[in-house]
Each structure stands twice: as structure tokens, then as C-alpha cells.
């Protein structure tokens, strides 16, 4: 059976080099570009006519916007409207990346930890810098839960610091592992289908169900990524 991790291999489509660094246009870059073009198409064409009764494209663009705006409003609280574009950019990128990967022969760039780690580290840096700017030195009060006895500080502060530092790691590994595990599972069952011959109808049935589940996971993980981003952004607004 073929190694199920081969599907994540990156191929060079257009080899390029700049000052000794490999900056080739790969299949990963191709799908990032397709994601970008699709999002731009959806929002430029969808909002170009501005009909009172929205058509399909305008309707989906509006629904995506309202969904994100409500999510940020509910989770980041008062004064968070300025973060809607930031969260929406991340949400749409992850959403389109996950869903494009489900198309046969497609490539899931979110199944590479370098992509998700770069995204979540960017979110982490943005949250820390904005919190330092808005709260100043009061930002560090966040690491001590209000109302806890002072004697507990030596125990509580390391735990809180650790859980804060682990945020980008858990955020990136969650998305990457979900995408990778799903695709590995699909490929394993596809291998069983071929190996079993006529009895392969059983794993084939399972693949159909699993594909449905993977669509759910792709949408859910994009939602969770954006939801956690807006929850983390809450720390930059509210004093603890």
C-alpha cells in the first residue's frame, strides 16, 4: 500500500530561485492563489451590483459577512467591530483552504503545519502587541485570575503563562492535525477498497460517509479557528 502521507508532498510547478533561496511556485502556492482568487471573485462580483434582493453570489457574500460579524461581536464583546476584517480574512482563508482540499486531486494547504503555524503565530503576535498597547503594563494582570488568594500566585502564574504560550501551538496543531488525519483516513480506506477486491464495497461505503464527515470537519475547523481568534482578541479589549 502506498504511504498515506505521500498525498501531502509538495511539488515544484515553476522552479524559481531568489538570492540562493528556493521560492519555487509549488502546488501549495497554486492552491493558496486559487483560494485568494475565489475569495476576491466572491466578494468583488458578489457586492458589485448591491441589489436590495440579493442574488446567489451576493447572498453568500452577505451571509459569510454577517456570520463572521456576529461571531466576533458575541465572543470578543463591546468595541470589537474593528477586528471583523482581520478575523474574516483568517476565517475565509482557512475555510476555502479546507474545502478546496476535499475536491479530488486537490491539495490541502491547511494540512501543512507551516501554513497553520504561520497563521496562528501571526494571531498570537497581534494579540500580544495589541494587548500591550491597550493595557500597558496591566496586560500582565491577565496571568493572575482576579479573586484568587495571593498565596496561590507561585502556582497559578506559571500555569496561566504556560496556557497562554501554548495557544498558538494548540491553535495550529488542531487545524493541521484535523486536516491531515482526515485525509490519511480517506486514503487508508481507499487502499483497503483496492486491496479487498469485490469485498471492497464495504470500505467504499465507509468512504462515502467519511467524506460527509470530512466536509463537516472542514467547515467546523474553520469556524473554530475563527472563533478562538475572536476569543483571544477579547483579551486585547477587556481589562482582567
Amino acid at each position: 500500500m502506498e504511504n498515506p502521507l505521500n498525498q501531502f508532498a509538495i511539488h515544484k510547478l515553476i522552479p524559481l530561485e531568489l538570492a540562493g533561496h528556493d521560492i519555487s511556485f509549488t502546488n501549495s502556492s497554486l492552491f493558496l492563489l486559487v483560494t485568494f482568487l475565489l475569495i476576491v471573485f466572491l466578494f468583488f462580483v458578489g457586492t458589485s451590483r448591491k441589489a436590495v434582493v440579493p442574488g446567489r453570489l451576493q447572498g453568500s457574500a452577505e451571509m459569510l459577512y454577517e456570520f463572521t460579524a456576529n461571531m466576533v461581536e458575541d465572543n470578543a464583546g463591546h468595541g470589537s467591530a474593528k477586528y471583523v476584517p482581520f478575523v474574516m480574512t483568517i476565517f475565509l482563508m482557512v475555510l476555502f483552504g479546507n474545502v478546496l482540499g476535499l475536491i479530488p486531486f486537490g491539495f490541502t494547504f491547511t494540512s501543512h503545519i507551516i501554513v497553520t503555524a504561520a497563521l496562528s503565530l501571526m494571531i498570537f503576535v497581534v494579540v500580544v502587541l495589541l494587548a500591550l498597547k491597550n493595557h500597558g503594563i496591566g496586560f500582565f494582570k491577565m496571568f493572575f485570575p482576579p479573586g484568587a488568594p495571593v498565596a496561590m500566585a507561585p502556582l497559578l502564574i506559571p500555569i496561566e503563562v504556560l496556557s497562554f504560550v501554548f495557544r498558538p501551538i494548540s491553535l495550529s496543531v488542531r487545524l493541521f492535525a484535523n486536516m491531515m488525519a482526515g485525509h490519511v483516513m480517506l486514503q487508508l480506506f481507499a487502499g483497503f477498497t483496492i486491496a479487498l477486491g469485490i469485498a471492497g464495497i464495504l470500505p467504499l461505503t465507509f468512504i462515502v460517509l467519511l467524506t460527509g464527515f470530512e466536509i463537516l470537519v472542514a467547515l467546523l475547523q474553520a469556524y473554530v479557528f475563527a472563533l478562538l481568534t475572536s476569543i483571544y482578541l477579547k483579551d486585547t479589549l477587556e481589562a482582567h
Binding site: 502521507l5 458575541d74 494548540s170 496543531v173 488542531r174 492535525a177 484535523n178 491531515m180 488525519a181 490519511v184 467546523l220 475547523q221 469556524y223 473554530v224 472563533l227 478562538l228
Partner: protein, 76 residues
């Protein structure tokens, strides 16, 4: 015991965590269904928190899976 079989046993031990996460997910959906049955009008809030809890818990199972894969592929 040679290193190759120890590696396979280690990968097997790493995915035990998935079983424990199964218990955790069961508890989440148990509480979710109980809450929905008692107060159906709270469904929108419960859906959001339920999915968040589901995703946070499921991530732990996937960490175990990733560790097992890393052990099997000689990365660690």
C-alpha cells in the same frame, strides 16, 4: 527488545489517549443533550459552546494521532 518493536509498542501506547478523549466527547454530548432537553430555547448558545468544546477535546485525540505517526515515521 529491539528498537523497531519498541517503536511500534510506543506508537500503540501513544494512541491510548484517543480512547480517553472518546470518554470526554461522550460527556460533552451527554451534557449537551441534557441541556437541550431541559431548555430547547437555549439551542443557539449551546450549539456554539458545544462545538467549541467538541473541537477543543477532539484536538487532544489528534495530538495523540500525530505523535503516533511521528513515532512510526522515525521523526522523533
Amino acid at each position: 527488545m529491539d528498537a523497531a518493536s519498541a517503536k511500534l509498542i510506543g506508537a500503540g501506547l501513544a494512541v491510548i489517549g484517543m480512547g480517553v478523549v472518546g470518554i470526554g466527547l461522550g460527556l460533552i454530548f451527554n451534557a449537551w443533550l441534557h441541556a437541550l432537553g431541559r431548555n430547547p430555547s437555549a439551542a443557539p448558545v449551546l450549539r456554539q459552546m458545544g462545538f467549541l468544546g467538541f473541537a477543543l477535546t477532539e484536538a487532544l485525540a489528534l495530538f495523540a494521532f500525530v505523535l503516533a505517526i511521528l513515532i512510526l515515521l522515525n521523526v522523533l
